[in-house]
Amino acid sequence: MLDYSNDIYNPDFVGITNYITLFHSSIFWKTMWNTVIYLVVAVPLLVILPLIIAIVINQKLRGITFYRVSIYLPVVVSIVVAGIAWKWLYADSGILNYFVTLLGFDKIGWLTDPKYSLYSVILVTVWKGLGYYMMIYLAALTSVPTDLYEAADIDGANLLQKHLTVTIPHLLPAIALVSIISSISAMKVFVEIYVMTQGGPLNSSMTVVYYIYQKAFENLDLGYASACGVVLMVIIMAISVLNIKKIEGGKFSA
């Protein structure tokens, strides 16, 4: 509710003007929509893929430590490095386009085509999160009682049935946890976008958080950016509360 444009130390009070401009801004709605796409695409992938990896990796196999460490590696490496590595893979005559042409398609402008840029960035977020969520699932898997599997064996269940009837129900709290964490962090993505696309081209990969950053620290429109931040915070809190309610409800019914 303040205007910082005249003096950063003595802002003027402007009431709800910033909110009005915000809700009339087409870029704001575009970034909101992009954030929704981010959530809808990234979260299911981050809930399901790590679960499959965790179930497969939770066996006694040769070289299991190597697999674990390798899959966990992207989590540890700085997101700036990851962004650079992927920018290089996505390069116009880069390695991914080589595979694309190998399959007989035209080159894709991964980061330069407004149609694909957002999805390319989402892919990096998913890639970087796999290991982290895998670990959460692995921790939860240790608590699944093994005699249930033996019982399922006696009942003649196949592998898929065993996991659907024994593993998944036991992992429900972990699945809920992963969906909360991943949806909150999907709403907060910033560095991937900053390093790879700067929100472009044509704001196609700009999310709300990036928009806040750009408004606040590039255009120095701190009041407007704060208004945007407040809107985002309200949404995140609503999601968290809903999720927590759902989990608690789930616990009672389980």
Binding site: I8, Y72, V77, I79, A85, L130, A139, L232
Partner: protein, 281 residues
């Protein structure tokens, strides 16, 4: 027997596939950084293994960008942040667990609530506050470091983690300490702290990873090149070498080496630490 064989064949192929996806981008980065000037890095089909392995890109990148300075800055920020986090999180968690006072529940929920607020939203007021306190690098290196470290001196996650650790310690130990004449501070420092070492280690590792890779906040408050931390410097390098991908790759790898050593050395703790603080299924 055959079923078992297929099961393990499937598991291995799936895991190898995932491993390639996970570390492939890094391997490609390494391969690019090792290629000499005469080799076409855009060759079709791509040359996965460099023909003439050379370190010239690493040397070139190292000479043109003050990596040593970035590493030192990152180390200073990370070490101090870890120390503050361990200290404050355990100091804050102890009364939340073991002391009876009015508003304890309120304090706990206030701490919990901060987890939900996205850091980018706090960035703006935090930035204004830091400016007003003159904790930016234009007031000297100490102010610059303080501005980078203090906002991350304690985290709700750390408090929650330590709270769980303290809760697991039996009350009798404290009662015994009181009989032996310990005051509250001595109980905390001499009795409880040694017992929660594993949790302290977990917190330290988490803080290390988070802090070492932190990009947003330093990139906002830092204005001087000599204050840059590794991620900020690396992003700067990306623009500096524009599209010299050999140098960019070399720089990215140089900046990853410290955390990679740390990760491989403490690999067990990373994997184990993840389970703490997470919901047990």
């Amino acid at each position: 027997m055959l079923r078992k064989f297929f099961k393990s064949l499937f598991s291995h192929s799936f895991l190898i596939f995932m491993t390639i996806i996970s570390i492939g981008p890094f391997l490609w980065l390494i391969s690019t950084a090792l290629k000499s000037k005469n080799e076409n890095i855009f060759a079709y089909p791509p040359q996965f293994i460099p023909q003439h392995i050379t370190l010239e890109n690493f040397i070139g990148a190292w000479q043109q960008v003050p990596f040593m300075g970035y590493i030192i800055n990152s180390t200073i920020v990370t070490v101090l942040t870890i120390v503050l986090n361990l200290l404050f999180a355990s100091l804050a968690a102890y009364p939340l667990v073991r002391m009876e006072f009015n508003g304890r529940g309120g304090c706990f929920f206030a701490t919990l609530a901060t987890v939900m607020v996205p850091c980018q939203v706090i960035m703006i007021p935090l930035y204004l506050l830091t400016l007003r306190l003159n904790l930016v690098d234009s007031y000297g290196a100490v102010a610059g470091f303080a501005g980078m470290i203090l906002p991350f001196g304690v985290s709700a996650f750390g408090i929650l983690l330590m709270r769980q650790a303290f809760m697991a310690i039996p009350k009798e130990l404290e009662e015994a300490a009181i009989i032996d004449g310990c005051n509250v501070f001595q109980i905390w420092w001499k009795v409880l702290m040694p017992l929660v070492k594993p949790s302290l280690a977990t917190l330290a590792i988490f803080t290390f990873v988070g802090c070492w890779g932190e990009f947003l906040w330093p990139s906002i408050v830092l204005t001087k090149q000599e204050m840059f931390t590794l991620p900020v410097g690396l992003n700067y390098l990306q623009g500096f070498f524009s599209s010299n991908w050999r140098f960019i790759s070399a720089g990215a790898i140089i900046s990853t080496i410290p955390i990679l050593i740390f990760f491989l050395a403490l690999q067990k703790h990373f994997v184990g630490g993840q389970t703490q603080g997470a919901v047990k299924g």
